[in-house]
């Protein structure tokens, strides 16, 4: 079943086409990887989906419903959560309050919001940090807080923007476990990632873009052997060699 679809998405910044005619479909329950070199337009696609920018052209469909022109907060309400590449913790609030604020998007009252928040903290393995002020967390846990907060809004589709960047190898393994756990809970995931270890081990399918255009699509193995992808990442000589 197709849960989410991007059709011919175009985004121009002035004369620059940051995203040019990208289309993909995401099935319910899968982990969908989005890769590409720096500046290829991955985060721009996320920002278009969560409507931080108005799109120049194309459509975004969620559960067969056109969500292209919805406001950012409505996108969250209908069930699309996201994290930020540059983490945005609510700095002067405690970790628990961060998550409670997010839980209010679905919860009816404070009691319920608190329960949802505690449950989500437990699920994401941050409950031992709940009293700490968010800005004093180290980067690994800040990234985890981003995921926890997005999960507290009870999304059906989760957009993860480089959640593994800047983590050490142990944290990396923990992050992979967490993402798998979220998938097993029935949440569909679109993940943008640079670290090949992460993206290749967890993605069901991968979509590669460069200069805002699709260059390859398929299962991880196909994509990693694709000439255009190798060329985009490593240069022309490697592709032929």
């Amino acid at each position: 079943m197709i849960l989410f679809e991007v059709k011919n998405l175009v985004k121009h910044f002035g004369g620059l086409a940051a995203v040019n005619n990208v289309s993909f479909q995401v099935e319910k329950g899968e982990i969908f990887g989005l890769i590409g070199p720096n500046g290829s337009g991955k985060t721009t696609i996320f920002n278009c989906i969560s409507s931080y920018f108005p799109v120049t052209g194309g459509n975004i469909l969620f559960k067969d419903q056109d969500i292209t022109s919805l406001k950012t907060n409505k996108i969250c309400k209908i069930g699309i959560g996201r994290t930020f590449q540059v983490v945005k913790p609510l700095g002067r609030l405690s970790v628990l309050d961060n998550v409670i604020a997010a839980a209010f998007s679905k919860a009816k009252n404070k009691h319920e919001a608190r329960d949802v928040a505690m449950e989500t903290l437990e699920f994401c393995g941050l409950s031992h940090r709940k009293e700490i002020i968010a800005r004093s967390l180290p980067i690994g846990e800040r990234k985890r807080l981003e995921i926890t907060r997005a999960m507290a809004t009870r999304p059906e589709l989760l957009l993860l923007d480089e959640t593994a960047a800047g983590l050490n190898p142990t944290e990396l393994d923990e992050a992979i476990d967490l993402i798998k756990k979220i998938r097993d809970k029935g949440v569909t995931i679109i993940i943008v990632e640079h670290i090949m270890k992460v993206i290749m081990t967890i993605s069901d399918r991968i979509h590669a873009i460069n200069f805002g255009q699709t260059i390859a699509q398929g299962v991880p193995k196909e994509v990693s052997n694709n000439k255009a992808v190798i060329e985009a990442y490593l240069g022309e000589e490697y592709a032929h060699g």
Partner: protein, 336 residues
Amino acid sequence: MKKFLPLILLIILIIFPLVYKNAYYQHLMILVFIWVAIGSGWNVIAGFTGQVSFGDAAFFGTGAYTAGLLAHHFQISAWWGMAFGGFMAMAVAFPFGWICFRLRGAYFALASLALNEVCRHITTIAEPLTQGMVGILIMPSFLSKIPYYYIALAIAVFSVVFVQFVMKSKWGYYFLSIREDQDAAESLGIDTHRYKMVSLNIAAFLTGMAGALFMNYMGFIDPEVVFSLHDISIMAILVGIVGGVGTIYGPAVGAFVMVAVHEFFRTGFFGFFKGMAALTGSDFLIIAAKYISQAHVLGFGILVVLVILYLPNGIVGDWNKIIGRFFSFKKKEAAT
């Protein structure tokens, strides 16, 4: 002990005018209470929601003029203004917020500054309605200060309790989220524009109500008094900063300190300069005594510099720091 502190303070404030019958100090306390309400309002929009507003006088003046004009044109008791003043201030806040919350940070602050000036000019020019610079005079309802004292106290307590209630609810979490990171708040499903409006309207309501009380109490208003930038809007900010931005009891403490400082300067350090001038006959002191009463703005400036340097979170926000300093000082004294 800490839990009961507000309650004990409240009881003291209730007994105060019955025991201490000096009308001057009752007057000062009424001013403090009015400033508690205004400061609490400012604290909601600027302290908790992070949208610094220089436009509090617009809401204050609207509330005051609502009460005044009702009495002046329709011969309705100005006390009705207490009911309508807050809502009229919201009627000003609503279109303003709806348009200007598209602006962020300093740009919103500038727009609110403009709102203040726009309101002042409108009331000055619309003479058939407001009598312009002549101002509005109404007969006070009570000769004694005691009824005003209790009404003002009730409004101050209501403001603090109401703000506390709001900040513990969903709205409170939303306001804080918007203050900390507007983009993150939006991505968490918070309609930031809408909740900034809610926050501004709460601030406008409390400030407008305080304005209506001011009209009733003072009996006279003109545009320069109630739409004053430095005496109302800036003072509201100072009450918030000195007391503690983003704390429930900050505005209450700030209001007390600011009214005290204001009065300290207005009376020339409680007549100290005048007395010294009379005693010594020095020309310098005579001139100083003459001008010191107008130097309260200078006093505010010095106070703000000190607060920002040593207590960046205000008196309430840095309370533990103050206590800690005090005790470490005592310990050192004991050691030597």
